[in-house]
């Protein structure tokens, strides 16, 4: 009964979405505001309907309704209550329903904003968001229905479906499979919602961009309107990626946080184009240039978002044959193809109207620095894309599949990232339109010398890795140029107002949130890069079997196996928990408890490392669970990850910087409106 209501709600929501899209376009074509109003209301109606459906699914999940196929596949009686709720996004069908709910939420938020200044765009925004929502609802309702039931056929086979097949009886299993143990971790609980929020939020700027094209608009209104959407979406996407890395580090047991796995790359590519877009729109806002390129970037970001969801959910990358077997694969492919083509056609129709208001004045200018920034982001995106799809290409052409792993991506993307980070330090100092090389040199020479000095110190200390030396040097350079920007601004403010340094600094940031928030993000990137260099270039590892009392050594650390305790928990797992002591240069510094959790319901094990974290490194101790684990001997794998915690610390600073940059500021908004008017007047 509950399931039927849920399914019905989804069907009606699908109808509303398609109705809204159609009415909006017809209303725009025939200049019928009443049609558009109706479309607006239908779009709004999708939200309560999908919320109801999701809510009903959660009810089914927490009340152990195992006659529902999805509930059976992702929950079990032993699971704690909160995990049964998060199981909503623990499987394919629930995940797509969750995506749809997010899309409906963002669409509703877009519908509820004030449309006074850009009423003409609304029908097209409705059309784009509702077509996207409609597609995902169609996937859910047609192919991945979370409300489908399990039936037992007379022949003994199992069938899955909403309605009772002839002669079948409902299958009421006593217990479910339970959530994949890997998903029962705090990081995995919030990573999918956060990542999906990041993905879905980019549909709105895309919708506005398409609306601008459709209404022959050549101005920046759509960019200004969606700037905050884009920034918040980008924040969630960045956070989602960082959380994914943290989760992988905590539970996947290979001592790392990024494996260039196809699913990771699928989420990374839209982030790359979105970051390029965030920077590139500043040129359009300031100088009215690159309008066509910004359109290309947002169209690419949208397509990559859908493509990313497709790669993650359709299994296409395990094999091209799996693609054909999974029903949703071909549909996704077709949807991406059609939307991409229509977007490009709209862009080409408007191509002539989107000429630049100004020309480039000088090779050495902020504009050209931003263009170089875009080239590098696109270069990395293209490299990652190519490496990710190449196994598919190879299989299609030669029949033989290959693996494109970290050695490829590190070799190809690494140097591009290095140049990008370097540019990050230089570009903010380059003036708009025409910069003076001499002045730039004057601002850069101190950080440059300091970077060289650091490289010298590291060389003297014995570091020989060319990549790491360059990397650390670039980080020092960029950190200093960015901090000096803060210093210059603070000092200027102190001179102008007589404030003390702290007040001057805080007020400087508060009154120029976009700029200084951006600089804080740049500093965060530097911190994360330092962490990445340390953990990538200098990781040490060892593995060995030891009896109690024996030790394993890696670097300056020794790890001694002390004891093992075995027990069963009341949420359905058998735990083997080892106690190890960590010594540095002979001194005891920590006791850790790596453990192996074996989940009875899903018959899967998970190894949780014992980690000693410090600013300097992580001592990461894992039980190797494919070897025997016993009180009289166990195998451990130990990773020494230098500077890895700088990655997570940088992540926090990143979030802080984005919040500052995105925080609404009434005074700044007023200033920008007046300056926008002035810019527009100057262009006439």
């Amino acid at each position: 009964m509950v399931a039927n209501f849920g399914f019905l709600a989804l069907l009606v929501a699908l109808g509303c979405a398609l109705y809204a899209a159609g009415m909006a376009l017809v209303g725009a074509a025939r200049h019928r505001p009443d049609y558009i109003e109706s479309a607006h209301n239908a779009a709004l109606l999708t939200w309560p309907l999908i919320t109801l459906a999701a809510g009903l699914l959660v009810v089914l999940l927490v009340t152990d309704q195992y006659q529902i196929n999805y509930v059976h596949s992702v929950t079990s009686r032993a699971m704690p209550f909160y995990l049964k709720i998060t199981a909503l996004w623990g499987g394919q069908a629930g995940s797509l329903l969750w995506w749809s709910w997010l899309m409906a939420t963002f669409s509703a938020a877009a519908m509820l904003r004030k449309w006074d200044r850009d009423r003409a765009l609304m029908p097209y925004v409705i059309a784009v968001t509702m077509v996207t929502l409609g597609f995902f609802l169609f996937m859910v309702v047609g192919f991945e229905n979370p409300f489908a039931r399990l039936w037992q056929l007379p022949s003994g086979d199992t069938a899955v479906g909403m309605l009772q097949p002839a002669g079948a009886i409902p299958m009421l299993l006593a217990d479910g499979n339970g959530l994949n143990p890997l998903l029962r971790h705090p990081g995995m609980i919030i990573h999918p919602p956060v990542l999906y929020t990041g993905f879905v939020s980019f549909v709105v700027p895309f919708a506005f961009a398409i609306a601008a094209l459709a209404t022959h608009s050549a101005d920046d209104e759509w960019i200004r309107t969606t700037r905050r959407w884009t920034l918040v979406g980008w924040l969630f996407l960045s956070l989602g990626l960082i959380l994914g890395g943290r989760w992988a580090y905590d539970v996947l047991g290979w001592g790392g946080y990024w494996g260039w796995d196809p699913v990771e790359n699928a989420a990374f590519m839209p982030w790359l184009t979105a970051t390029a877009f965030l920077h590139s729109v500043m040129i359009q806002e300031k100088r009215g240039m690159l309008k066509r390129w910004n359109m290309v970037l947002i169209i690419l970001t949208y397509s990559l978002v859908i493509f990313g969801t497709f790669l993650t959910r359709s299994g296409v990358l395990s094999s091209v044959h799996a693609f054909a077997q999974s029903a949703i694969g071909p549909f996704f492919f077709a949807f991406i193809g059609i939307t991409f083509t229509i977007s490009l056609l709209l862009l080409f129709r408007e191509w002539e109207h989107l000429g630049s208001d100004h020309q480039l004045d000088s090779l050495l200018s902020r504009e050209s620095a931003f263009l170089l920034n875009n080239l590098l982001f696109m270069g990395i995106a293209v490299s990652v894309f190519w490496g990710t799809v190449f196994p598919m290409v190879s299989e299609l052409i030669t029949g033989q599949t290959i693996t494109v792993g970290p050695p490829f991506f590190n070799r190809v993307a690494g140097p591009q990232f290095a140049v990008l980070v370097l540019l990050m330090g230089v570009a903010p100092l380059v003036a708009w339109r025409q910069a003076s090389a001499r002045q730039l040199g004057r601002m850069l020479w101190i950080p440059f010398v300091a970077a060289l000095a650091l490289i010298g110190v590291l060389l003297a200390g014995g570091m020989r890795s060319v990549g790491a030396l360059f990397g650390f040097g670039i980080c020092a350079f960029v950190a200093l140029t960015t901090l000096m920007e803060f210093w210059r601004g603070t000092r200027a403010r102190m001179r102008a107002t007589g404030e003390n340094p702290m007040t001057a600094l805080l007020t400087l940031i508060a009154r120029n949130r976009r700029r200084y928030g951006g600089y804080i993000i740049h500093l965060a990137v530097v911190v994360m890069t330092i962490g990445i260099i340390g953990s990538q270039f200098f990781q040490q590892t060892t593995q060995g079997q030891v009896k109690p009392g024996e030790t394993l050594s890696v670097g300056q650390y020794s790890i001694r196996y002390d004891s093992l305790s075995e027990f069963t928990t009341n949420d359905g797992r058998q735990v083997d928990r080892a106690t190890v002591s960590v010594f540095k240069d002979g001194q005891l510094i920590s006791t850790l408890n790596p453990r192996r959790d074996y989940y009875f319901d899903s018959q899967q094990a998970m190894t949780i490392p014992g980690v000693r974290s410090s600013v300097e490194n992580d001592v990461y101790v894992l039980l190797v669970d494919w070897e025997p684990i016993a009180a009289n001997g166990a195998t451990f794998k130990i990773y020494l990850n230098p500077l890895v915690n700088w990655v997570w610390a940088g992540g926090f600073i990143f979030i802080l910087g984005t919040l500052i940059a995105a925080w609404p500021d009434a005074a700044e908004a007023r200033r920008r409106v007046t300056s926008a008017v002035a810019v527009a007047a100057a262009r006439v």
């Binding site: 004045d361 270069g379 490496g387 200027a492 102008a496 060892t542 794998k637």
Partner: protein, 157 residues
């Protein structure tokens, strides 16, 4: 005659030395992982061989251990796995056949993009003179930048 005997002795001594006269060092988990790290599990999806937990992977790692103990080099073991299971076991794509494309296309595309960018930047036509402070010959230190910043800030305070 003596020369022939001496030469024969030299040859047989050389052969004895080549036939593993040095006792092999015991193979540790780290040695196995060193090789396994360069391989991917032949049957699982995107899992490096040194961290794959399945029984099959454990057997493959044992195979690596056996071969290392028998004196095989890392490259010989990698070649063996490729011969047995195909190119997909290598973490780093090889450079022959179609695979050369995976390495060559990204640099080509980036250089292509750079060429397009260069052509765009060459259309530089200096517009009306930029506001004086930006192009004026620098006076002393970063002060003139600071002056401009102070002016801007004064406008916004």
């Amino acid at each position: 005659m003596i020369v022939v005997v001496l030469v024969a002795l030299m040859f047989s001594a050389g052969r004895a030395a080549a036939q593993g006269a040095t006792p092999p060092a015991p193979v540790t988990d780290n040695d196995i992982n060193r090789v396994a790290h360069q391989l991917y599990c032949p049957v699982c999806e995107n899992t490096p061989l040194d961290v794959c937990p399945t029984q099959a992977c454990a057997q493959w790692r044992a195979t690596i251990g056996d071969k290392l103990a028998a004196g095989w080099t890392d490259q010989q073991i990698l070649d063996y796995f490729v011969a047995q299971y195909g190119e997909r076991v290598l973490a780093r794509p090889s450079t022959h056949g179609l695979n050369v494309l995976v390495w060559v296309i990204p640099p080509l595309l980036v250089l292509g993009g750079a060429a397009v960018l260069w052509r765009f930047l060459r259309q530089v036509r200096p517009g009306p003179k930029a506001p004086a402070p930006a192009a004026a010959p620098p006076a002393g230190g970063g002060d003139e930048y600071t002056d401009r910043l102070e002016q801007e800030l004064r406008k916004r305070i």
